[in-house]
Symmetry: C2
Subunit: 327 residues, 2 copies
Amino acid sequence: MSNPLAAEVHLITGGAGFIGVNLAAALLERGCNLVILDNFSRGSRANLGALADDPRVGVAQVDCSDAGAIEAGLTGFASLGTVTEIWHLAANSDIPAGIADPRIDLTDTFLTTFAVLQVMAARGIETLNFASTGAVYGDLGDVELRETSAPLEPISNYGAMKLASEVQIRAAVEAFLGRANIFRFPNVVGVPATHGVIYDFVGKLLADPSRLEVLGDGTQRKPYFHCDTLVEAMLFIRDRSALAYGVYNIGPSDAGVTVKWIAETVADVFGGEPEIVYGRENRGWVGDVPKFRYNTDKLRQLGWTAEIGSQASVRKAIEQIVALRRS
Amino acid sequence: MSNPLAAEVHLITGGAGFIGVNLAAALLERGCNLVILDNFSRGSRANLGALADDPRVGVAQVDCSDAGAIEAGLTGFASLGTVTEIWHLAANSDIPAGIADPRIDLTDTFLTTFAVLQVMAARGIETLNFASTGAVYGDLGDVELRETSAPLEPISNYGAMKLASEVQIRAAVEAFLGRANIFRFPNVVGVPATHGVIYDFVGKLLADPSRLEVLGDGTQRKPYFHCDTLVEAMLFIRDRSALAYGVYNIGPSDAGVTVKWIAETVADVFGGEPEIVYGRENRGWVGDVPKFRYNTDKLRQLGWTAEIGSQASVRKAIEQIVALRRS
């Protein structure tokens, strides 16, 4: 498909974060102008690299839970053109921090969505692409998670506030919003990572190459997806879905990999044969879902199939992160 | 059962509202002391009547979306004893108002829940009873609504913020809360009503006894429950449910009554044979679900069955409202 987005202007909230900068690069490649608003709590100008200097990109530090601040940010980049579409990625990404203080997910995960919707209503922006999460499913045990799985009982404030965002978006579609694509992300790996199990393991080995301590007993199994593949799927859904409110699981259809496998692969790529030490519990922290498996039929029926699964995604990310953190 | 709640102290948020005052009367009858916090936007001291003068009851005007204000309210009534249980009923109850301005449901329906949970965490209050709603189901068409029905796609901000409240409570149960009972209310009728279809119809006939104009075509069919019966079910679940997080539909198991039937019954009770004039659409406003039917097996399996259904509930409420508004 040739530049379906050429000359369009899109806003990415949280666009300086891990997934945001990968999405930004893909949208620029398709000919978009971009406004990137980010509070730089996890995201950073450093993440953006050369993107920040591209004349088609406007970057500003904005608290996206404040509709007035988003408005001001958009007004500041009016010369790029009129924003017609929003990719709302801004959120707290530190689940344990959100459990310790629920106000973090209230503000950064939910009120950002609320503010984005206020801006869309005020400006008549029709299309919203929203980064949701498998955490909305909570702990449904061994069932394969479909978009219609129930009951949805998230066990973290992060999952709760992502689900609250989804349903507020759903009500907005009823009232004024033209279209919303809801992407339920799996665990996403790649660079520039700021957190996550691989990032933690590599950090531990950099500090002490002889020993790798694992939170939990290592049996937790989850699907992982590389961010390159994730962004490809997001764009595919954005281009092809005909639903006014379309919820899509994005992820591999395999059963995922265990934390033990990740630890061993990090140790293998890192080298030096560290001792790997496991904890006793089968979950790392309150609110962590020990295992889940996605059903991705809906996305496949739309015409998209992942080229790589959990193992290849994780290995690719490990190699990137080790290379980057050693450099 | 003899006074299972004697000597306990409970907080009712929104306790001066329509359902709140009925619940308060029932809890007092069982020997509870009560703190009632209400912003008096829909609720009022007048609703409370003689309850407000009961020495076992403390009443204060408090914005329950403000955790500090709830704290201050509780501290002010410390002489009644230590609150061990909360009935969180405070919410915006005007669905169209919440669609016109989403901040109303954000603040009054969701942030009240968030603040209540903050207070429960800070004070170690273990048990929460929450007034949720059938509006969380959205418009699932002709299916019988079970607690596990999916997908949950509320079409009003009210429904969205009630569902957001449910899932935030669910995450709190994972983190710190001892127990939460989630009551999914049907349309509730009775006195002292402040809004709703019966209240509107009676008001119209008081203004012009010759003509009753109906919003919509009258075919909307919904289950209704009298507040006396609702409160009975809430207390039953509170006493009997063994679930840490228990979601229960409360309502009649019948298919409900149509707006047309309500209009005719109001006209019948009111007398004078008014002309009834219908609109064309099958819904009254954006965000109104045209029909729904509850499955109440879960509540029945717990051991409780409604003694009256939709027709008897509505007729009882009509008679009460007509008598009250004519007096």
